[in-house]
Amino acid sequence: MNLTLFLQLLLPGITTGCVYALVAVGFVICANVSGVVNLAQGEFVMLGGMAASWLAVTAGWPLVLAILGAMLVGAALGALQEKLTLAPVRRAPPFIQVTTTVGVSIVLRGFALVLFGTDPLSLPGFSGDGVFFVGGAVMPVQSLWVWGMTLALLAATFGVLRYTDIGRAVRACSINLQAARLMGVDAERLRVIVFAVSGAAGALAGAVVTPIVLSSWDAGISYGIKGFVGAIIGGFRSPLLAVAGGIGIGLVEAFGAGYISSGWKDFIVYGVLLAYLLIRGGVFRVGRAAFAAALANPMR
């Protein structure tokens, strides 16, 4: 095996997977607290990238302030999404609530289009636009920021979930919402906080990844879909599995394109998802049982 090629596929796959992982964690946490799959999750990544780029390049803000500004935008929009679009339809059937998030996704895309225009926006690398080498493979230095930021955000997420009152409240809500309410958890307030934090985290992911992949008003769909796949692999319950799912999708994409065919990349990703769902859904077990039943009573 060509080690350089292997590393050249592995490392960018991890970088892309990190972004999917962050989106996937956002999906899982929002779903556990609100019971709704937030299909606008990818748009916060897009908005974070666009806002940070616009603030830093066009408005001339220092990079740190531009990123904080983008996170603020993400947090505000996340909180508004929950307060203005999900809270009013809380008692509606789940498909109405999910459809509402699709509407928010389209509105956010339109908002970005009108505000930032159609051209892809870029952002300078946080430590310059240099590269580093690992076993002959070349990586942009910015990748280190993506990995570091992902680790930091995930560590913070797990730390908050495990060791803080808010985290315990989130976990309680995900286990039994009614019981959590009876124990004094303010679920409405908690949802707003979780959506705001999720929006800010998505925006940060977008800002960090923009120096590598640019940002464009229509980029959120791709992040959203791949992050959604990661969340599905995580069973929409475990943030840790969602992280593994997101990074796994990034790796399958990279290795699929590198070792099989770049033209088959999406086919492979969604093929793996389908296979995973069928296996997890018990297709082999159910299939075996049906086969055994058919053998036992062929006339049935």
């Binding site: 389209i106 289009l113 009108v114 892809p120 791709s222 994409e253 990279a254």
Partner: protein
């Protein structure tokens, strides 16, 4: 969808605003299907800039041009719907497809149904040949562009060629032609890598290209794909020269990669108008366009201006009806345009031909003829 509404409204207002002050002049209505949003938005904007420069400096003598612009979001299905909507309006005499090849192809089959002449963007060969009686393509075919590239490859003695292309109609068409020319010109395709136009990671493709050790790489990427593809090529430190389709070299490309000088050395099979045109009638047009834009015109600026020149010529030589405009288009022979002479015949509706294409190279940020 809200964003579509905003985009269309904004584009329509811009079109009306730039159409000039109201007057008693006879109105001439033109419909435009444009990729105002989506991956092809940047080239579309550059094309509009060139077209508006033509309108400002020349326009239609004695007539007020009224544009109705619909956004297709760089989506062929939307393109077909927008086209049908425009073609159903009897006041619209002609439709301009300011889109990529895939969106333009989506309307080709409807052209005869609605009997409205179309001046179309897009490099895909099938847009102009075999011809639809009502559809007229301007850009030279991909065959003409890749003919220039293959001649260059042969002249340089390159034997190992890599190709990276999109999975859309344009990319697939370019790849089919490259495969055909490989045998004719005696080179081998050592890497054939594809991508979806909304991809954000091109490392796998470029890593395989680097591993194949080609003498030259040809990229059929345009829009955001062209930018990301170029950045990855640079990051991986690939030594083989890069040739890119002219469709990928636009204003947004240069802005994102750090200016035209950052792409120095990049080759492109370019239309003549990409170089400073200093001879013939096109020299005057080029100077006018440059002055109006306030900067050196890039490929799609020139393309937009040339569409205006074609429109001007056929309005002058027809009765202004749909049928009359179509007939006038088919009679155009060697109309001087910046990118090269435009000719249509009943047998071929590709306006520019091989005479409009030459290999160019970016030197000090300016595209000059390649040695």
């Amino acid at each position: 969808m809200y964003y579509r509404f905003f985009a269309v409204a904004a584009a329509a207002m811009l079109g009306v605003a730039l159409a000039g002050p109201a007057s008693a002049q006879e109105e001439f209505h033109v419909g435009v299907v444009a990729s105002v949003t989506g991956p092809f938005a940047s080239p579309t904007k550059d094309t509009f800039d060139g077209f508006y420069a033509w309108e400002k400096t020349r326009g239609l003598p004695g007539k007020k041009l009224v544009l109705t612009i619909l956004d297709d979001e760089t989506n062929p299905v939307n393109s077909a719907n927008a086209f049908r909507k425009l073609a159903s309006d009897p006041t619209i005499k002609l439709i301009i497809q300011n889109t990529n090849s895939s969106s333009a192809m989506a309307t080709k089959s409807f052209a005869s149904e609605y009997k409205v002449p179309i001046i179309s963007g897009g490099g895909l060969d099938a847009l102009g040949f075999p011809p639809n009686p009502w559809m007229f393509k301007v850009a030279p075919s991909s065959t003409d562009s890749l003919h220039a590239l293959s001649e260059y490859i042969k002249k340089k003695g390159y034997k190992r060629v890599a190709h990276i292309y999109g999975t859309d109609a344009y990319g697939q068409n370019e790849h089919a032609i490259i495969e055909k020319f490989a045998a004719e010109y005696g080179f081998t395709l050592v890497a054939e890598e594809s991508f979806a136009i909304d991809d954000t990671n091109f490392t796998a493709q470029w890593a395989k290209i680097r591993a194949a050790n080609p003498d030259i790489v040809y990229s059929s990427a345009s829009g955001r794909s062209a930018i990301l593809s170029f950045k990855t090529y640079k990051q991986l430190g690939i030594k083989a020269p890069l040739a890119a389709t002219a469709a990928g070299v636009g204003g947004a490309f240069f802005q994102a990669v750090g200016g035209p000088k950052a792409a120095d050395g990049m080759l492109s099979p370019s239309q003549r108008g990409t170089f400073a045109v200093t001879t013939g009638p096109a020299a005057e047009y080029y100077a006018t366009l440059q002055k109006s834009l306030g900067h050196t015109p890039i490929y799609f600026n020139v393309f937009g201006y040339d569409v205006g020149l074609i429109l001007e010529a056929i309005v002058k030589n027809s009765d202004g009806t749909r049928q009359g405009l179509r007939d006038a288009l088919e009679k155009l022979k060697d109309l001087p345009c910046i990118n090269g002479p435009v000719t249509y015949t009943p047998q071929n509706h590709t306006g520019n031909d091989y005479r409009a294409v030459a290999m160019g190279v970016l030197k000090d940020g300016v595209m000059v003829p390649a040695e």
